[in-house]
Symmetry: C2
Subunit: 202 residues, 2 copies
């Protein structure tokens, strides 16, 4: 983010500035004038690159989604072939996201603010969350968990909850226990596996 | 909520209307003019009862908090003396909140929208969440769970996550598994108890 001239294109500067401001202050709290000014640009240039504020919101969410793709790639390349290690690395990465960022998930936050069911951002939010859920369930299955979908959904709820809680009550609330909660849950699913029983019948 | 005359006081009508509109559409998306009009009142009357929109937001949150107090009382009176039954009733009640309301927790939503660290709503949000956490941890301890704080925090994260997820991706996302996730977690903590081992060492 910058208010000074930089060699990046106006479109890129506006997009990066909007990402930062929406993330820090919320989507409705930030207007296009403030974004254009903070990007060292103007409203006319902003509207040349993005047809509307909604269009800019969608572009920001797609950009956040590509950050998530990069994190998945890092988890895989740091733990090649070891799916259980990748699952535990996912927990560590999620814990880092929770601890380092008081503002939570940009997609969940956008869903709170953009309540119109036909808002163009909603399909991007749903797609993003569906992809994360699919990747996590696939990882749980590949890690040998019998109840892979339930474990993936449980871990999804824990991380969504940790990011929401961090935002409501700060880092010393329930989110402080995220990593212990998530590891205890993974252990109990893996143990249920080993015992040949399902978690839901424990 | 009503736009027609009713025997309730103007203050109460405005408060109930604001609760409904903030809940449905979000806090920043709804202005005081819209609230006054929907309450069959006017801005001057609204400002006679509430000094500012922020004052009205705080009053709405305190009103939501008293709803939560009532739910706790219902859980206790429906399961007198049986703390484990109360804990399982809490899960059922939380699942009902998740399933019946696409808009999630008003306190978590307010935290997403009101990003200013000195906003007067933030202390109300923090107090509310701290009380819920304390009550849940006390219930887990009274139900005989050794790692009561960790179970309470895990359940808190699950319900926060379920409400956030319900809002982002609807009722068929990970929140659909909330009740199974929460019950599996309670069972594994109770089982760890019985085995004389701590969950974190499982």
């Amino acid at each position: 983010m910058s208010g000074v001239a930089s060699p990046t294109s106006p479109r890129k500067r506006i997009l990066e500035t909007a990402r930062d401001l929406f993330h820090e202050r919320g989507i409705r709290a930030v207007g296009v004038d403030a974004i254009a000014a903070a990007a060292g640009s103007n409203k006319m240039t902003l509207y040349r690159h993005f047809n509307s504020k909604d269009d800019l919101i969608v572009a920001c969410l797609r950009s956040f989604a590509s950050d998530a793709d990069r994190i998945w790639s890092e988890i895989e390349s740091a733990n090649p072939g070891d799916k259980m290690a990748q699952l535990r690395a996912w927990v560590v990465m999620a814990a880092q996201c929770v601890a380092s960022d008081e503002r939570g998930c940009d997609f969940a936050n956008a869903a709170v603010e953009l309540t119109e069911s036909d808002h163009p951002a909603r399909i991007v939010i749903e797609e993003f969350k569906a992809i994360q859920r699919y990747r996590l369930a696939t990882l749980c299955r590949d890690a040998g968990i019998a109840e892979a979908e339930l474990l993936a959904d449980t871990l999804s709820l824990l991380v969504e909850g940790a990011r929401a809680s961090r935002q409501s009550v700060g880092p010393n609330g329930p989110s402080a226990g995220f990593i212990r909660s998530a590891e205890a849950v993974i252990d109990s699913f893996a143990k249920a596996n080993a015992g040949g029983v399902t978690v839901s019948s424990m």
